[in-house]
């Protein structure tokens, strides 16, 4: 079921390296224009969402699978580190690391049976998994504080507490650039081509020795681990978490960010996260019209730019460059 996607991505090194440099530059220079703590906060949230989206993009855009329950992994990451730190007194770096490892293991266990499914059945399975996680988190209030949420201690490494918008901005910024670097390396490697091959044609991929189950699982586990990592960081940054972080709506937001920005493009994932994290903030000005506008923006963008923002703009740019010769 190969679907001709956007034109083949440009050759190995040039464009991804350029976009990575652009991202690093943006992260480094942004503080010069951010006026206050609130804008820093938005930037940090963008960064955290972007980390999830880059991982999710590996699964959706490259390996060609779908997950409508990724907020479940995010939520498990957040609540895992919170519970270990608060109820069991673990030091926060340990609670974070252990949580990410545990969620990766869980993703491995769930992934094996459900990745045998395709298309909408896979969508439903991941959706169901996400909802189950969200409901369990909201219901087991003895551990999780229930629908009202629970507070989370800040991240403290060797006695130094990570607090304040500026510090978190740099931490998240560096982690984001590192994540994109790792993702781009992966895509431009034999394993990355194996994942893209699966997306292109599972039959042909198996005919060249690629084991579909093993690779889909690897993409799934990696993206789940990244989501959990971002979730745990979010918990320590915000100091407070609620079950909404694991909700179906959040899962849909994440997928929408990836598709909106442009699948099969790590930069697209970052742009999508940036656009759809800041847009609702901008729209709160319109208060009651917020949902209407958000829905309208989503629909119009997808109707007129079906491949997503970055690939469409990229093509337009290339066409303009071609014409000016």
């Amino acid at each position: 079921m190969a679907s001709p996607a956007a034109a083949a991505p440009p050759s190995a090194s040039s464009a991804p390296r350029r976009s990575l440099l652009a991202l690093a530059g943006a992260v480094a220079l942004l503080p010069l224009v951010l006026p206050n703590n609130y804008t820093y906060e938005v930037a940090i949230l963008v960064g955290l969402n972007a980390i999830v989206c880059v991982g999710l993009n590996l699964l959706i855009g490259y390996a060609g699978q779908i997950s409508l329950g990724h907020a479940g992994f995010f939520g498990l990451g957040a609540y895992g580190t919170a519970i270990l730190a608060v109820r069991y007194g673990w030091p926060t770096p340990a609670s974070l690391a252990a949580t990410v490892a545990a969620v990766a293991l869980l993703a491995w266990a769930i992934g094996r049976p459900i990745l045998r499914l395709r298309g909408h059945a896979l969508a439903m399975a991941t959706l169901g998994m996400g909802i189950i996680v969200a409901v369990v988190i909201a219901t087991e209030d003895r551990y999780t504080g229930g629908p009202d949420g629970m507070s989370v201690p800040p991240l403290a490494i060797a006695g130094h507490v990570l607090a304040g918008e500026r510090a978190w901005y740099w931490v998240v910024g560096v982690l984001l650039v590192a994540t994109v670097w790792l993702a781009q390396n992966l895509i431009d490697s034999p394993r990355g081509r194996a994942w893209r091959a699966l997306h292109g044609s599972e039959f042909a991929a198996s005919a060249i020795g690629i084991d579909p189950a093993r690779h889909k699982l690897a993409a799934f586990v990696l993206s789940a681990a990244l989501a959990a990592f971002a979730g745990a960081l979010t918990a320590h940054y915000a100091g407070f978490i609620t079950p909404a972080k694991a909700s179906f709506l959040h899962s849909i937001e994440l997928v929408t960010m990836v598709v909106f920005g442009g699948m099969a493009s790590s930069l697209g994932a970052v742009v999508g996260a940036a656009a759809l994290t800041t847009l609702p903030q901008l729209l709160t000005v319109f208060k009651e019209y917020e949902m209407v506008l958000l829905g309208a923006v989503l629909m119009l963008t997808m109707i007129f730019m079906p491949q997503g923002l970055v690939p469409t703009l990229g093509k337009a740019l290339a066409a303009a460059r071609g014409k000016s010769r």
Binding site: P113, G128, I131, T139, V255, V259, A296
Partner: protein, 292 residues
């Protein structure tokens, strides 16, 4: 059979009938276009909310219900014409995002046109409970079940005995061949969306007297209807009905005997189990082996 069991079975069948109608809506649109319409739940919401507001404005219930279903149908047609048709060649994931955007838009509009409060619709034939073998039965339950049976019968007649219905089935089996036979796929898509919207709105009107209605009931209902459609084998009409009823019963029995706090979870646990052990759904519909 204990009275309590009868009670759970009846409420399970009632909500199952609603899930079945929503699932049918998913199945009809999926068959025509291979799109999962995430806005399906919002049609249910529109049906209930519109009917409630018409009644509150003074219209008699039957007229309010009719206008609500008709209005929802128009919304469905508009959705197809303005959002789905322009995006025809797009990848399926993009189309799904479009319907998700539509559901957000519709929910936003609902909170503006109406409000965020909970509304009730008067029961069709009064509130006096009936007695059935030790269990009490709301008359509305009979309306729900009866209307669903009637609707399913009408749909069967429509798909098997009318030209438009058969055209829709043809498109669902093989779009290219249907086009070569002169069937307008665009018209089929339009009719499918209109029909699914009407089904959703009907479900909303039927259930509003029992479980009330508000601007955001569409989300969970849509998800469970989707789950029911998958359980029955996506694209299968009888499967959607069986899936809906099964889901309703499981939920009711689970909430009653196991844990009411986890009521919403039962449906999804069963779905997950079914998908893992029965990947083709209850109807066991085999996907045609892909030719390589």
């Amino acid at each position: 059979m204990s009275a309590q069991l009868v009670q759970f079975l009846l409420s399970g069948l009632t909500v199952g009938a609603i899930y079945a109608l929503v699932a049918l809506g998913f199945a009809i649109i999926y068959n025509a276009s291979h799109v999962i319409n995430f806005a399906q739940g919002e049609f249910v919401m529109i049906g209930g909310m519109a009917a409630a507001s018409f009644v509150e404005a003074g219209l008699p219930l039957p007229l309010a219900a009719l206008l609500a279903v008709g209005g929802a149908m128009l919304v469905g047609l508009a959705l197809e014409k303005l959002a789905v048709e322009p995006a025809r060649g797009a990848p399926v994931v993009t189309l799904i995002i479009i319907t998700i955007g539509a559901s957000i838009l519709l929910r936003g509009l609902a909170s503006l046109v109406w409000d965020k409060k909970i509304h009730a619709l008067p029961a069709f034939s009064g509130e006096t409970p009936l007695k059935l073998g030790g269990a009490t039965l709301l008359p509305q339950t009979l309306w729900v079940l009866g209307a669903t049976v009637l609707t399913v019968a009408l749909l069967w007649w429509f798909f098997n005995r009318t030209l438009t219905g058969k055209a829709i089935l043809a498109v669902s089996h093989n779009q290219l061949a249907a086009q070569l036979m002169g069937i307008s796929v665009r018209r089929v898509l339009l009719v499918s969306f209109g029909l699914s919207a009407a089904l959703g709105a009907l479900a909303g009107v039927l259930i509003a007297p029992i479980s009330f209605t508000s601007w955001d009931i569409g989300v969970m209902l849509g998800l469970k209807g989707f789950a029911a459609a998958i359980l029955g084998g996506m694209g299968s009409g009888p499967g959607a009905i069986a899936g809906g009823l099964a889901l309703g019963l499981i939920e009711s029995l689970g909430a009653g005997y196991v844990s009411s706090a986890y009521k919403d979870v039962f449906a999804f646990v069963i779905i997950l189990a079914a998908l893992i052990f029965l990947p083709d759904g209850l109807a066991g519909r085999r996907r045609a082996t892909e030719r390589v």
